[in-house]
Symmetry: D3
Amino acid sequence: MSTVHALHPFLYDRTVRRALAEDLGRAGDVTTDAIVPAEAVATAAIAARETGRVAGLDVALHAFRLLDDGVTAEVRLPDGSDVPASAVLARVRSRARALLTGERAALNLLGHLSGVATATRVVVARLEGLHTRVVCTRKTTPGLRALEKYAVRVGGGSNHRYGLDDGILIKDNHVALAGGLTEAVARARRGVGHMMKIEVEVDTLAQLDEALFLGVDAVLFDNMDVPTLREAVRRAKGRVLTEASGGVRPDHVREVAETGVDLVSLGWLTHSAPSLDVALDVEG
Amino acid sequence: MSTVHALHPFLYDRTVRRALAEDLGRAGDVTTDAIVPAEAVATAAIAARETGRVAGLDVALHAFRLLDDGVTAEVRLPDGSDVPASAVLARVRSRARALLTGERAALNLLGHLSGVATATRVVVARLEGLHTRVVCTRKTTPGLRALEKYAVRVGGGSNHRYGLDDGILIKDNHVALAGGLTEAVARARRGVGHMMKIEVEVDTLAQLDEALFLGVDAVLFDNMDVPTLREAVRRAKGRVLTEASGGVRPDHVREVAETGVDLVSLGWLTHSAPSLDVALDVEG
Amino acid sequence: MSTVHALHPFLYDRTVRRALAEDLGRAGDVTTDAIVPAEAVATAAIAARETGRVAGLDVALHAFRLLDDGVTAEVRLPDGSDVPASAVLARVRSRARALLTGERAALNLLGHLSGVATATRVVVARLEGLHTRVVCTRKTTPGLRALEKYAVRVGGGSNHRYGLDDGILIKDNHVALAGGLTEAVARARRGVGHMMKIEVEVDTLAQLDEALFLGVDAVLFDNMDVPTLREAVRRAKGRVLTEASGGVRPDHVREVAETGVDLVSLGWLTHSAPSLDVALDVEG
Amino acid sequence: MSTVHALHPFLYDRTVRRALAEDLGRAGDVTTDAIVPAEAVATAAIAARETGRVAGLDVALHAFRLLDDGVTAEVRLPDGSDVPASAVLARVRSRARALLTGERAALNLLGHLSGVATATRVVVARLEGLHTRVVCTRKTTPGLRALEKYAVRVGGGSNHRYGLDDGILIKDNHVALAGGLTEAVARARRGVGHMMKIEVEVDTLAQLDEALFLGVDAVLFDNMDVPTLREAVRRAKGRVLTEASGGVRPDHVREVAETGVDLVSLGWLTHSAPSLDVALDVEG
Amino acid sequence: MSTVHALHPFLYDRTVRRALAEDLGRAGDVTTDAIVPAEAVATAAIAARETGRVAGLDVALHAFRLLDDGVTAEVRLPDGSDVPASAVLARVRSRARALLTGERAALNLLGHLSGVATATRVVVARLEGLHTRVVCTRKTTPGLRALEKYAVRVGGGSNHRYGLDDGILIKDNHVALAGGLTEAVARARRGVGHMMKIEVEVDTLAQLDEALFLGVDAVLFDNMDVPTLREAVRRAKGRVLTEASGGVRPDHVREVAETGVDLVSLGWLTHSAPSLDVALDVEG
Amino acid sequence: MSTVHALHPFLYDRTVRRALAEDLGRAGDVTTDAIVPAEAVATAAIAARETGRVAGLDVALHAFRLLDDGVTAEVRLPDGSDVPASAVLARVRSRARALLTGERAALNLLGHLSGVATATRVVVARLEGLHTRVVCTRKTTPGLRALEKYAVRVGGGSNHRYGLDDGILIKDNHVALAGGLTEAVARARRGVGHMMKIEVEVDTLAQLDEALFLGVDAVLFDNMDVPTLREAVRRAKGRVLTEASGGVRPDHVREVAETGVDLVSLGWLTHSAPSLDVALDVEG
């Protein structure tokens, strides 16, 4: 089980409220309000319907808490657990209305984040025995970046930049507009604080040599074929952190990693991982 | 090309701002701001990298407009277009900084929505010749429901409820907590306005008969095997709208539809469709 | 007493905060803060000063709770009660400052919503013995739509659309811009989900016949004189839901309803109902 | 025509957005979007359907501007105009969709504010020849206080406090909790800035004498019968501003004013004034 | 110790959340979350590191409460206390993470507000024995006005206007644009409510005479030399409240006050007072 | 003149709106609205009243733009300029009302940020000839962090972390709660992404040796006396970035820097720098 620290609810409270607001709209849950008495209390199990790694259980429970501050929850398989199909992750006791009204928002969050964690874990498993770390990108679902980056960590992956403001990443377009890599790095260095790292995207070995000469913190090899990547890693080894990126799919990630590259980044983890099937079973 | 009406920017302005805010953080795009002169202007092509149906092009352009109100865009393949890999969807001219800073937010939105539209279109295509409509569910990505439902329409699908407040859908839990379907429907009818429809989930043919007797607007068959579904549709035909739901995957959707059911709903379209690969190419 | 379900505080929390914010401004309740000790506790009665139907009591109590989370309240005459002048609706015990500071926000909400409920109840009572339902419109007070629609239900009325997005209502302007009713309905049907109903405004019997032929869900007779309305209802009976709208005032609503129309809608209920006189009496 | 200054849109932009958001919901104006082509342009007249004083025309136009930044408007009868039934207040030219989608939000605001202005003007007219000013209270519609206070000024009335923070008003409850008027005033004075006035509610002539001795800025006579009020005004004349409040209805406001009181305040103006009937006529 | 009433948390809740959000960003306190176990509990002392007057202690505690609703605090030296260096103001017991994560937001608020209170107290002390009151201005730190005005009161000062909407202050630019003081005052009076005061800026004795003739509530002498100010105060005495403003620095404030002026206003108190040095000491 | 890139208005738009909202309150600028005609246009000069370095001019202009979208501005001395007293920084032409209403918000922002830039520049100047960089801290004014960090850069300083989420800084409390520096660093490393640096606070030379052994990116010497600091810098030189922090005041900053330390951080720059005196002169 992973020991990744959970996000403080301060960081996702709005996201959960937004999910509930999408569902409650203007009139609320008209079906439940009409049918289920306000005072009815019930217990429900949050369960997985397929194998995967859990992420977002606290986030899901937050949805119920926003609808009923008397909710109690017994968590059995917390974030980071690898669970079989049918596993009960937690039992929630609350007003029955809160369970039915909050169900979809809670499950959509849990399923989405567990999907990201599961996909990450699968990729991480494929790299067993190698030192290469699996890294996410900024190709995240709009509005869910912090939660998805958390899910990647739960899945055993590591995080790249959170945004455009917490690291320098010089890409081909920057180089083109600056008139060369050396000039681009020089400009970037002028304004950067001492806590910020500089990474440079390189497409060729010549660019790599230029970057190595400039002494940056990391280099990103974009869409490089495996033989070139192997040579690039060889040259950079011990001098700079290396990252392979661009179109890396789960099925050939090990081949990429075996070049010895330090990091493999996959946008796929956050933009295309399928949701994990989770459900809420009211038990009475 | 689809003729689905576009959403008014009033409805997604905040979503796009949120995506930009995730990327700009506190300090903004430190790389671009350090390297690219404020006054530099550039043109970029928004292009598809794989085959699919476009959705969200206006939403993506909105990201650039929020960073530079002088943006001009020439749209070549608007929402609803089926495009080949490498197709240029639009050309955008703006301050170079706005292009680089807004790129990821714009592409994340466009890729995600086009992914949903493409997935929907694929499923719709499989039902060619049948009257069955493809319908989305409330299993959407938190914060993106309205945009995803739009993308489903662009893909040729149709929308189910937008939330818990714009239609009555009585599920098994409601029936259990009300002590029976008849009582649940009676309670729901008491409060419902004349513009709201009532749909009931039925798991057995006996329940279907009860629902038909009650005269509801639609019945949802949840996880029914195909032979039972065929019989259910036969009984309901001409009396009530029928919907098949629960675990319908693209690969057996036609089999389900051939029972004659009116609607097939797939959560998969919105919670698990992979993103379409799109890119921004700065042309100078 | 009505059994209309209450709105979840999630749906009106912001509205109540906004009301308090209008009153507290930047410096808060300078009079109370200067005069009343922070630790003083008091009990107050929320009372009606005139006969009417109560709506919004929980909403009003929410104002006090936002100022003092230790508030306790004993509700005697909940929403839906028909009360005489001087009736004590509830007793609230809290810090004295919270009572005085929250008083106006609480009473403005309670008085406004009870005014709407009372007006609705009066109109509903006039239709006793008839099957016609009293319906509200979208002519609501900006910012208070969900609460006003709730108050209409508390008053015994029923709700029309909540917005432009949860039902199709084709009006004369739409027909004019589409070039005819048949074309307008055809266009509307193309995009509409299966949970959404279509209502059409008709001004003449010829238009009614066209609408009936098209098989819409409801027809709205706008500003029709009573004899024409009677004939229209006769033709539509059993084929489509009928609604009379446009300038229906409480004093001639029964005459309109006696045509047999299914629904009578009155904007007056929400945009012009006078507030019910309510007060807060500090009891020490 | 009144020369009251208009509110800056900065102050009501959110209110108008909120009104539009209530109407557009998640999916927008599904009827209009399905039926009216995006590029269609139309002109519409905003007209009064009954006699009254106009208030809120700019606020209403703002609704259209938020939907179409190319709106042009020709204002014929601006805020402060007394208009006959059928008067065209303004002509608006814009995309047809914006006209139909924004219509209800615009008219709800215009009708509500014109209703307040009209009611105020009627009361002001009854006091012709007297020096007494008509004043509103904090009994306003939640969320609309600043706009309603503006409408009162347009109607010829004057404003009392905007909130609990911009003036001291010591009421009976404050006096009770402080243990006497003298102590209450002393406490209030300790914290008050030099730009803030102190008004005291008095219920008896003895209290008035105490207040006069204390040298406050204004006294509010709450629910005083006319003979007592006359004596109270006599004693206070020239020493302090006097205000009659509490249950003053339009039909006996002149009788109250003829006591010579400086101000008559009516909650009725803002919480119970019926909406003015206004409409939007699309002219093609 | 001052007895100034505290602001209700309703008024600063957002300000504190904003401060926390600046610090937590997207990923939260990555150092603390990685190092300190979630369940660890600790006690910390909030202490002054230099002599000063405390203001903002409740505001600071609110930061911890937003991160851990189980926080308990023992306040020893509340707002208004004059404390020596090293004084322990309060002890806070909470989850250790909340203490470390909230520390900076809490201390930034406490240090800033105590800085304002301390500066005010120093100025007030210099006027001992004189009747002149020390007043703040609208030259406040953006986003912190209400809190800074509170801190001024804690320091023994008094508040001027809170904004442009709660008092009339006619400045030289207004006079110039109106074509004269008399016209400016006349225009201002037309729209002003009875609870609002009128103050006029005068630069010369001639302008003062004009203002006195007009009967305004207060006059502000802007940047007047001391002899002229003395004459101005002499003329105004007993007729109008007098305020000296413009470039009054702490070191010559007594000289200004000895002219007999009623109020001395210093923007310096809120825009340039140095922060008080405060710290959080974790005690285990 | 500095060439620091300006912040995109997207990053401070809300801050400026908040400043305006504090000033406009509910009723707006009642003085200006009553006195100055809506259509009047004027030109004003934004000027410095004392010597300093300009920062925040675009931010200030944004305030006027939010009130009048027709504002034109001619900037003469942009951010980064060192200006004498009386220097005209920019001329603004706009509706006269916007100038007077926006003046205080604009100047409060400009004065505050220029104050920070000026203070930074003064400190930077004292280190002339040394390689030591001046760095800000997280001791910023709540709500203004991003702008203050920008102002520090304009002043020639460099930025430390923006928040708790974009860098690891292990302080004494973390070490204590982890049971030692080595364990603290180990825990921090486990979760950290490759773009994030690790800095460790050390109070003794023994701790420094431990930190050097662990291979962190930077060490912060907290409140070290100069001789110890000199020895610490000597040991760390060439192995790790060094920072001196804690109670460094402008008057002895050079002495600290002459130890050879790489960075000197001063909270004073952002929490205690006095505002620069700036003014708006309406020129007609």
